[in-house]
């Protein structure tokens, strides 16, 4: 049974920049099961900050409870000239300037998902949540955003 619509009006754009929660499409990494790293695949953490606090530069590792994206998604973002702030639904509009390249050992597990829209940003990039971080020596290289490694 259908009803005829007599009138449709577009609602004026509303400012969604202060919407805090991720829209719960349940695609985010934290909702998904653990998967294992293969010891060969790189992961990339993007940041506006050269001194990203989740990178332990003393032990060259990623701290527990930190997010990255995959190398393939980072490369896709760069190659498609996509805006990382939109793709990874980041809360502020600071320019992403740094990429931290991480190679976890195969014993390490993480949760994989697709970034949900939040803060008025669309999301859609790949995200990896390393609940336990990564082991010493797995942070391999810091580059400017847009540089691929290795």
């Amino acid at each position: 049974m259908y009803k005829d619509l007599r009138d449709i009006k577009l609602k004026a754009d509303s400012d969604t920049s202060n919407v805090y929660e991720r829209k719960s499409n349940k695609t985010g990494a934290k909702n998904n099961p653990l998967v294992s790293a293969d010891g060969k695949t790189y992961y990339v953490r993007l940041s506006a900050y050269e001194d990203d606090k989740r990178i332990d530069v003393k032990n060259n590792c990623l701290l527990p409870g930190s997010y990255t994206t995959t190398k393939r998604d980072y490369e896709k973002c760069v190659n498609n000239n996509d805006d990382p702030v939109e793709r990874y639904a980041l809360p502020n509009d600071e320019v992403i300037e740094w990429a931290f390249h991480i190679l976890p050992e195969s014993k390490y597990q993480y949760r994989f998902g697709i970034v949900e829209s939040a803060f008025g940003k669309r999301g859609g990039g790949e995200e990896c949540y390393f609940e336990n971080g990564t082991s010493f020596g797995t942070f391999k290289k810091k580059t400017n955003y847009g540089i691929f490694y290795p």
Binding site: P64, G65, S66, Y67
Partner: protein, 69 residues
């Protein structure tokens, strides 16, 4: 553009031990010394609190920061 407040070091040390909400940020509840609580605020790089336009940086005396549930 949000105003930014650099979080005192002792809270930064706490925040880097707590999980992120997404790449590079945490959603937190900030308890101020005047009894006010700032709900669902964003902290970037475990060290910079993003404020709403009507919030006064000068009156921010933080007592405690927790992750927002």
């Amino acid at each position: 553009m949000n105003a930014k407040f650099k979080i005192p070091e002792k809270f930064v040390d706490q925040l880097i031990k707590l999980p992120e909400s997404g790449m590079g940020y945490q959603l937190v509840k900030v308890f101020l010394s005047n009894g006010k609580i700032l709900h669902k605020h964003k902290v970037v790089n475990s060290s910079i609190l993003l404020l709403e336009s009507n919030e006064d940086i000068s009156s921010l005396n933080i007592e405690k920061i927790e992750l927002e549930k």
